[in-house]
């Protein structure tokens, strides 16, 4: 609602002072942005606001960070990359494909425990995860899903890895964890806060302790090969306005 529009106005003021933006206002260009699928809602909302002030067309390509990384490696057109994990950005940095100076950990997220409807009241907090009431826990495949990796780290630091080993159900992505919990086929799941907010049936139980796993970060960087780096930089700046931050927070992200 209303308060969003307010933040938006603030952001407008911020940006219109910058000369760069006015230049590109005269003649719009198309900026290619590859962004992690989990950011699609937030970024689309920000895009609408951005379009009011700027003639550039933002062309988003949403997919899993792994697919995006491969596409960029094979030379797919891209000016700006917003990754959901450090590893994928690292891979591109090693390949020398990103503008290293522009790399920034923009957002963070929180690992959250969710429960199916039936099991919503069985445990109070994350410390009773190892109890016998918990028959199954779904996490993302640690090798490929960043959220799964963090979940594994948390189990390790809580010292329950061995106790819950046989209860783990690995999923292809965070969305699948949500679906398992929503349909009641798995009792509990570990997902990002931003995903947990989409849960339709079932409950959010608690956040995992932030220090139980590596920091969850969403790095962003400009791509060296990009054709519209200046215009991309404008949007990159815009992502750090208060308005944009407000939108991200609304969707459950943490601003770093």
């Amino acid at each position: 609602g209303c308060n969003r529009t307010d933040t938006g106005n603030d952001a407008n003021n911020d940006i219109s002072e910058k000369p760069v933006v006015e230049e590109s206002n005269e003649k719009g260009v198309t900026v290619n942005i590859s962004a992690a699928a989990s950011l699609s809602e937030a970024l689309t909302e920000i895009q609408t606001e951005y379009a009011k002030e700027n003639n550039d067309t933002l062309q988003f390509n949403f997919a899993g960070s792994g697919s995006l990384q491969k596409q960029i490696q094979e030379g797919a057109p891209c000016d700006l990359f917003v990754s959901a994990s450090k590893a994928h950005m690292d891979a591109l940095e090693e390949a020398g494909l990103i503008d290293t100076e522009s790399r920034k950990d923009m957002l963070g997220n929180t690992l959250t425990l969710i429960a199916s409807e039936e099991k919503a009241d069985v445990i109070k907090g994350t410390d009773s995860l190892a109890s016998a009431h918990v028959e199954s826990i779904s996490i993302g495949e640690p090798e490929t899903v960043p959220a799964g990796k963090y979940a594994q780290q948390s189990f390790e630091s809580l010292g329950i890895t061995d106790k819950i080993k046989d209860k783990i159900v690995l999923a292809k992505d965070v969305k699948q964890v949500l679906e398992y919990v929503e349909t009641g086929n798995v009792d509990f799941g570990l997902v990002y806060k931003s995903d947990a907010m989409l849960l339709q049936t079932g409950e959010i139980v608690a956040d995992m302790p932030a220090d139980s796993h590596d920091p969850i970060v969403y790095p962003v960087a400009l791509i060296k090969d990009g054709k519209q780096l200046e215009a991309a930089a404008d949007f990159y700046e815009f992502l750090q306005t208060d308005y944009a931050k407000g939108v991200f927070e609304k969707y459950g992200f943490v601003i770093l």
Partner: protein, 223 residues
């Protein structure tokens, strides 16, 4: 690395057998009998071909899951769990490969000159015997074609299987799932070997089925 291969084989084979039977059954029933709403049934059969596998998988998860009608029934009365077991993988592989078997059986049945079935009728054969001894053998090239495609689809099935059967190494991890995770986690070597195995393997299957087809084909041979 061996277990996904064996599992894939087992799942695809069983699924193909079911598709084979069901595809021929529906191909015959829907195209030889006057079934009301034929077009609707046909669309339902072909639907899993059109829907993204993840949607198909989600629908299967709902139907066969703990809270689903079928899943609940099976657990209650038979103690059979579908979700996260290889049976689930068989079901999803069967559902996605059935459209292929159905369409191929259908066009094969349609192409048969009805005079042969009529001749068999004058010789006193029941419909079932005519089907077994005349219709099916004459439809053979199309049937085999359907089997090849069904098997290929079943062995390559990924999205729906992953959803309902999960990805439990040694239990429900099939070749495509193993490949997917190998690719995603950058294990290029494992991914490549698995892809190679699938290629070699499918080559053998297609080769074998083609050879079989040739033996069983009466129509196309030059007179």
């Amino acid at each position: 690395m061996l277990s996904p291969i064996i599992l894939s084989l087992k799942i695809a084979s069983i699924a193909t057998v079911f598709s084979f039977v069901l595809g021929i059954f529906f191909g015959y029933i829907l195209n030889r009998k006057n079934i009301p709403g034929k077009n609707i049934w046909e669309t339902i059969l072909i639907l899993p071909m059109i829907l993204p596998p993840s949607v198909t998988g989600y629908l299967l998860l709902i139907a066969f899951g703990k809270r689903g009608i079928i899943g609940d029934f099976l657990i209650e009365h038979f103690g059979i769990q579908i979700v996260f077991t290889w049976i689930g993988a068989v079901i999803s592989a069967c559902v996605v490969s059935l459209p292929l078997m159905y369409q191929n059986a259908k066009s094969a049945f349609i192409s048969i000159d009805p005079i042969y079935e009529k001749a068999a009728e004058t010789l006193g054969s029941s419909e079932w015997k005519i089907f077994r001894t005349v219709t099916l053998p004459l439809a053979w090239p199309g049937i085999i074609s359907g089997v090849i495609l069904s098997f290929a689809r079943a062995i390559g099935e990924f999205g729906a299987t992953l959803m309902i059967a999960g990805n439990i190494p040694g239990k429900t991890q099939t070749m495509p799932t193993a490949i997917y995770f190998a690719v995603e986690s950058g294990n290029t070597d494992i991914a490549n070997s698995l892809v190679l195995i699938m290629v070699v393997f499918s080559f053998s299957v297609i080769f074998a089925l083609n050879t079989w087809l040739k033996r069983k084909n009466y129509i196309g041979k030059q007179g």
